[in-house]
Symmetry: D3
Subunit: 287 residues, 6 copies
């Protein structure tokens, strides 16, 4: 699992970090720290976890402080993808107290949110560990955080579905209705997109499956089906295309779904309903 | 509660909606809809709720479609702050099918996230309805969504704490330590900020309370105290300043905390851990 | 061919048009027109072609004028994808003379550049019309104009390759060298990317082909091979994956390459070296 | 020629480079390199020319890599304005393999485009080398690249005309028509603009020339005239103002035009139709 | 004077108005108005002057309200360039009370600042009305407001000098020192810039004047000279180039300077030290 | 006074400096310096004051040069808040001559404007030094410079009022009229805003005062009252809330107003009408 976790480019998060910090600083200052802490004060601090979970966004969060001071050093003790226990240290910070105190909340909000996504993902992944199925995320993501949340899903051991409307075709009920059938929709899609674009079709009933597969779909999404139906669907597909189960998947039923033999199980809750991981910043030496 | 819910200015959400839509459209298009749905096709659709909750962000979500087409009309059947049951219609949409289908996910993600915050807030607010206590949010918000989440808290019947580091003073443990005591920290803060800025002090122990009140704090935050201690703190304050309880507040204990007589109860989970409200867009007529 | 030409969303070009106009207006004005043309003067004008070609960017160019005045109306007489002769009218414009004269150069630069790409593409496409081969563009595009140039390629009858480094895998010589072989590179790629991402491998010699195909590539790029080698490559692949020819393709040799049976022929010159289509704006009535 | 070539400020290209890189990285990553190349791999590479030409944009292109890594070093072996032969090295690059491979296409696209403009300019300049005439560019530039293309024209030995509508007055046919004559147009322009702004008038016939010169024009643009007419125009002007020939200038006729004695010859093709210079990046050591 | 006052394009001020409004709205709202004024309340109001002066920025200021509501109508009773007395109405506003009250301060700040510049300019212009001299502004402008302030100078009857470092050459003492003399500096400048760029030389002593004029300067700036010296300088120049007086010009001495016969008198105070025009918004009907 | 002057975060001014520099560089270059000064030339220079005043913006101005070159060093000899005499050195600069000469005007414009505000503020503050009254600024600020001007007011010894419409409530005449009285307006405001927001009421007559105080205002603004009325107002308030005098305050009458016993005196002129401090940059060694 760790094998496929690639570091995140600064291009993915630099402007998000700046924007999040700006949101907290408002017109550009920290009234309390400016009033009370001398500009020359220095601080040593640790970011620690207050609960068990999987980390995502350690470098993202650490980069907050460099926006506030070029003299600050932050070193990670645990990396993205690592499982962490309550009380463990994630990062150590040393530098001007102003930057540490003004950046604290922004760093924790970013790290807590992304680690929440990774942690929930990992719980789903654990449930299907004995099967071939992979847990994948959806486009049901938190506004403006999709790229980071998709990365957090990978940190938790999940895989990514398409990133947006422009990098993959997913033919749904409405598209099929307007096109006048699955074959016609597939034909239109294939004529329109380049060879680098994968085409997936959402099927509501097994009776649609053969038309999707023979019509040229690269993958089929079996929407809102129970385990028995899913299993029958997998059999019908006979490995000719990728199969994906979707709709109503919970921690309680994901294992049962995985055992039907589907290749992928997509779970919206990974990104739209994961509670934040509880974190703190402890200032250890401040003078 | 409705009395104090003011409509949100477009200044608060316009760029967020644009950014969220851009995130989904990536390089600017919807491959599937472009390939299959004729440019002239029109659509009538409804946004409906799949669960019980309180709405927040109806106008925000509805505005998504106007970014995609000037010909689309969206009308709200339920407004922000309204309680809604499963299956109820929130908005009706009519216009070019392209705009409806391409905007669907972005609109639902915005509305689902904000309504999730409002719904959780309202559950906390219900618990304290018999008391004088108000539920308030914190700065533990989702990156880049603070202004909208704070609005969603108001939709759920909660009140807002400060919006950032620049619009209120909250003196915490570290500030007190560096200043050399609560009185000194208060003195520094008062000399530095204008008369429009409120000063609140976080106290870890009741022994600090009198120094905070007499030192000129406008409010005291009683951090991580049990109900007995909180009640004692409220008595000591004797109504001279605003009292706020914070730390470890859950749906299970919030009523007990409220009964201690504190004025405010701040809950980070309202904004960092609220699950999204489950929503769907139903295309009713597409031709 | 027209069947698959989908209109371009304003999201793809709005900021490009604004930026291009701003580049010409500099600090925000047109010294000559401001000095000489009364604010109330009106103008009727036509955009006409001065050469034969294929149109791309008609709506893009027409939108320039709406940035300068809300009172201007522009109607297209010929659409993107249309072949046009010298002297033919493309668009008719009516409105304030200031907006027409200040927007003229920006509109013509956009339309001329994109139509240049479409026109060159169409000449390549004509050469391969008798074959199954499709002409595709590359990432060798003009800085900041990629999405529009890829659209112009479609207007000319070509197809698109991946849009960037993030929406498709293309394993090249350097990647293979570091990975330690094609199989290993394919394995790493497959483990890392989601099911919606296609994987293509660039092969320099036919001896690498079988490893690419059996290793799981979805497509192979046959780089810089002569026609005899290409034909042999196509035979070896036996239709198991998509084949693409690339490198040194010109109008003179593209037909020969197409006859080898490859599926795709990629041509960098479509986007990096297409001369602009010659256009003029004729003010017909100005008073 | 080199005497007047001044280095380009980062202010001119920094945001263009960032935008061009972002265009290629899309949502922020290079799928292939991320999947296959270890984060610690390093690379030595050279940018070389595959054809003869004149360089423009070496520093612009080299700066691409610094956006991707602060550890990369790039050194130019040939500078802007230098003539280069096929196979010659332009820059040497050393640093993290990720940054080299992910930045390659963006760097080559920028350098190839600008060097294409410089190379074509230089061919025009060579043709007029024996005369007093200077080759100048126009506002017929590639969208959003005007400042860089004008610089590339200087690299090729050409001179620049005005940069936009706001920094020079060029009175054309339509302006003259509305003003009611050249004298009136000149009078209006002179009354409106400051003393730092030069005024040029486009004349369609020699009969307009004297009115332009005596009316106060600083320069006259002789539009679409044959050599005999141009020569007569130059004689009529008698050196009182700058003379510029424009319209239908090609490599085949530019020398003849220059010999008429005009001061300036403006050529739109320099910037709107220059084919890119063919370049490659060779990774020499990658481990 | 009115003859040469051209309307300002929205391109010059749209982003300034948005930014100024955003600065006042901060996180996006008007706490007071939101709390007290019902969303449906409407308002009729007038912007009036509290002092005598010359208007500049009427349309700029009026556009503020359209950012806040599309239902508001604003009509100007007096235009830019008009002299206005205390108590006179400038604009009438009608629409939602929220937009009127929230936009009031931003509109008045813009109009008051620019009219302050126009009013001071007009006082200088009046002093030189009997002479040929023109009053011009400098680059000593208020940060980020240069284009608008230069427009305000025109509203007050002044003329503009160059807009920035990129649209005119002004050779100063330091440039001359490094170049090794005025002739050499002029030679370098002429070789470097295009024919559309004017070259002006700043001379500290009359002994430098002849070298500047014969070296090819288009204008000379006579820096910090008394009237007797200026008059002698004008005589020496004999009308061969434009003459400009600069340095230490006040309302008290500008007439004397103008009588020396210089063409231009540049005054930094027009833009860096003009007091704002006193204005009010009167809500006449609010319900 | 120095005690409460806190350094300004780069977040407050970085984009303002960049924008101001961009405004002067226009399309990105300094024609004169580019043409004449060799890229390798170096320069030592000083920024000096040409008049007496109080400094504000030294670091802001000095940062200009770092945008133009990473090799430049600037050291402040006098800090923000310091009183300075004519001829005194403020900063010393050493580095590439290009950066010094191209940045000169931008740096001086920023420092001159902000020091102008600080200097005028300090003159007001001096007048009230014998009293308890504090001089405060208003929202009548120069467009886009509010945060910096409010900082400059602090440099001059003044205090800040609210920063915008979103961080404080100021109930004015129109709000009271719509609400139906001061009590009702205060009630609405209190129900709407969080506990961190202070509420101030503007009263036009003393008869309104008691209603404001007992209705829960935190401060009252006594608008446009003479000294006798102000003194009576202060007596009526009896220290229960903060009192602020506003309207028609000048250097001539501010001392008299202060002696009435008001807590605060707000002066719009500090920020909308302060003349710039006269400054120069002297290049001392340029080679």
């Amino acid at each position: 699992m760790d094998l496929q976790l690639k570091p995140l480019s600064r291009f993915c998060y630099e402007s998000i970090v700046r924007e999040t910090l700006r949101e907290d600083l408002g017109r550009g200052f920290d009234l309390t720290t400016d009033a009370i802490i001398p500009p020359t004060a220095r601080c040593t601090a640790r970011i620690i976890s207050r609960a068990e979970g999987v980390l995502a966004g350690v470098e993202v969060a650490n980069s907050v402080f460099s926006f506030l001071s070029s003299e600050i050093t932050v070193s990670a003790e645990n990396m993205d993808g690592a499982s962490i226990g309550s009380g463990e240290t994630i990062s150590r910070i040393e530098g001007p107290a102003h930057a540490v105190l003004s950046g604290e909340r922004t760093a924790l909000n970013l790290l807590g949110h992304l680690s929440g996504v990774a942690s929930l993902t990992q719980r789903f992944v654990e449930q299907v560990a004995e099967t071939q199925a992979k847990v994948v995320c959806t486009r049901k993501t938190t506004p403006m955080l999709r790229v980071l949340e998709k990365y957090a899903v990978r940190c938790g051991g999940g895989m990514n579905h398409r990133f947006g409307l422009d990098d993959g075709v997913l033919i749904k009920e409405n598209h099929i209705a307007v096109a006048g059938g699955i074959s016609k929709a597939l034909e239109l899609a294939r004529a329109s997109v380049g060879h680098t674009v994968l085409i997936e079709v959402e099927v509501e009933e097994l009776s649609q499956l053969e038309e999707a597969v023979t019509g040229g779909a690269d993958a089929v999404l079996l929407d809102n089906m129970d385990s028995i139906t899913l299993r029958r669907g997998v059999e019908l597909v006979e490995g000719r295309v990728v199969t994906e189960a979707s709709g109503g998947i919970t921690l309680a039923n994901v294992a049962e779904v995985a055992e039907t033999g589907v290749d992928l199980i997509s779970v919206g809750a990974l990104t739209h309903s994961a509670p934040a991981l509880d974190l703190s910043l402890l200032a250890e030496d401040l003078s």
